[in-house]
Every structure is written in C-alpha cells, then in structure tokens.
Symmetry: C2
Subunit: 139 residues, 2 copies
C-alpha cells in the first residue's frame, strides 16, 4: 500500500451550509457539487476534500460519533508568515465561525484554529522546520 | 485562503500502536517519530499524516469526542483496479484490524473500508470518474 491519501471526507449536517462556508465564504472553487448530497473541493494536486451529507455517510460507513467535544482530528493549512495566519483567522471570524487566536507554540510554530460550521478544526500554521517546508508549494 | 491541505492530524490513544500499524504493518516510512508524542508520515508531495497522542491533542485543541460510533470522517486511498482494493483490504485484515469488504457502489466505484487501531476509517477505492483520475498519481 503506497503512502498516499486521495480524499478526506467529512460528514456534514447540511451540505448547503458547507457550500456557503467553503465556496461563498472562503472563495474556494468546487470540483463537484450535488446539492443535498456532496461537495468536493480540490485541495492538492492529487487530493480532494469531500463534504458528504451525514445521512449518506452513515448509510455507508455506519453510525457516527456525536455529542460534546471536538472531532478527534484537525486539518492543517500551512502558510509562510504569521501575518497570513492572522489574516485567515480574521477571514474565518468574519464568516461567523469559532476561532482560537494563533499563538507561538513550544515547537517553534505559530498556529491558531477555526472550526468549520460542523465543528471540524482547521489549523492555520507557520511551521519553520523541515516538515513545514515540505508541505508548502513553491511560490 | 488557498484551497490547500497540508496536514491531516488524527488523535490516537497510543502512538506506539499507530507506529506498529502504519510503519511495521503497512510498511510506510516515517517522516518523524517521537515516541509517545507523534508520528508523521508523508502522504503526498505536500501532505503529511500526523498521528498525535490524544493527550497532547486535547491539551491544545480541547476535549475530543469519544463514545460509540465512527469518527465522522474517512480518509481514502485510491487505486487503479479492484484487485488492488482487495489486496490492501486483505493486508489490513492480516494486521488484525476491522475490515468491511469492498463492493460495487451505485456511483460506479468499487470500495471497501478498514479501520485503523483507533477506529479511523480508510476507504480503499477505485473511482472510474474524472475525480478518480485526478487523485491518482502518474504510473
């Protein structure tokens, strides 16, 4: 099994609400949008983010966790400068979602979080180490 | 905000158990391994999968969901042929994790699932459509 990820799929309560946030709000381009069913967004050369209606997800995968607390995952979007981190978190805040302000981390990074409309945490990050370099596309 | 994903982070109960599954079991190469803290694996040109000790995750992100049901996400690994899907699911089964056998899907694909040691679902998939082509690296 090659070490590759092709899709990340998030089960969402309302695909139209996801569309409003990711497409209208963040300004991203959809790759596929089937209202009420699924929204797919290209997030890498060979990578797609899929927002899938929770009922469809559960019909195929099985009942999903709910209840208090964060989903035990985060998705990171890395940038080159702390100013970009702050700008993106300000954009998220302007869209009405929950934001945790960025801070310096013990490991040398500068990161903060926003939660999408379903509570999925996006970490907006500067990582000055070699792995941080690896994930950044060329200028 | 560019439409890019840099990291996918999963909160795991035991990083050593994740290391045994992904590195020893699937044969993947670690990018970074700090026992008891984090295991990072490169899963794309600019993409890293991070398995982060749940206590560290919760200290930064907040309490995480638990309880019955699947985490409401899946990670897909797409391949070119149904035979490859079945081979990977057989490999996962041989490593002792839960597997849902692949089947033909209404949308034309052939997919099945395995759950990693923490229950995160990986979908192993053939997707014969244009988005399926998009996620496959060149031969």
């Amino acid at each position: 099994m090659d070490q590759r990820i092709s899709f990340i799929t998030l089960a969402v309560a309302d695909v139209a609400r996801s569309q409003a946030f990711y497409i209208d709000g963040l300004g991203w381009e959809p790759e596929l949008y089937v209202p009420g069913e699924v929204l797919m967004i290209r997030t890498g050369k060979h990578l797609v983010l899929s927002l899938w209606d929770r009922a469809g997800f559960e019909a195929e995968v099985g009942p999903a966790q709910s209840g208090p607390g964060a989903v035990p995952i985060t998705i990171a979007h890395n940038v080159r400068t702390p100013a970009e981190v702050d700008q993106i978190l300000a954009l998220a805040s302007s869209l009405g979602v929950e934001v945790s302000a960025a801070q310096q981390r013990d490991w040398g990074g500068y990161t903060g979080y926003f939660a999408d409309p379903d509570g999925f945490r996006w970490e907006i990050a500067v990582n000055p180490g070699p792995i941080g370099e690896l994930v950044l596309p060329p200028d």
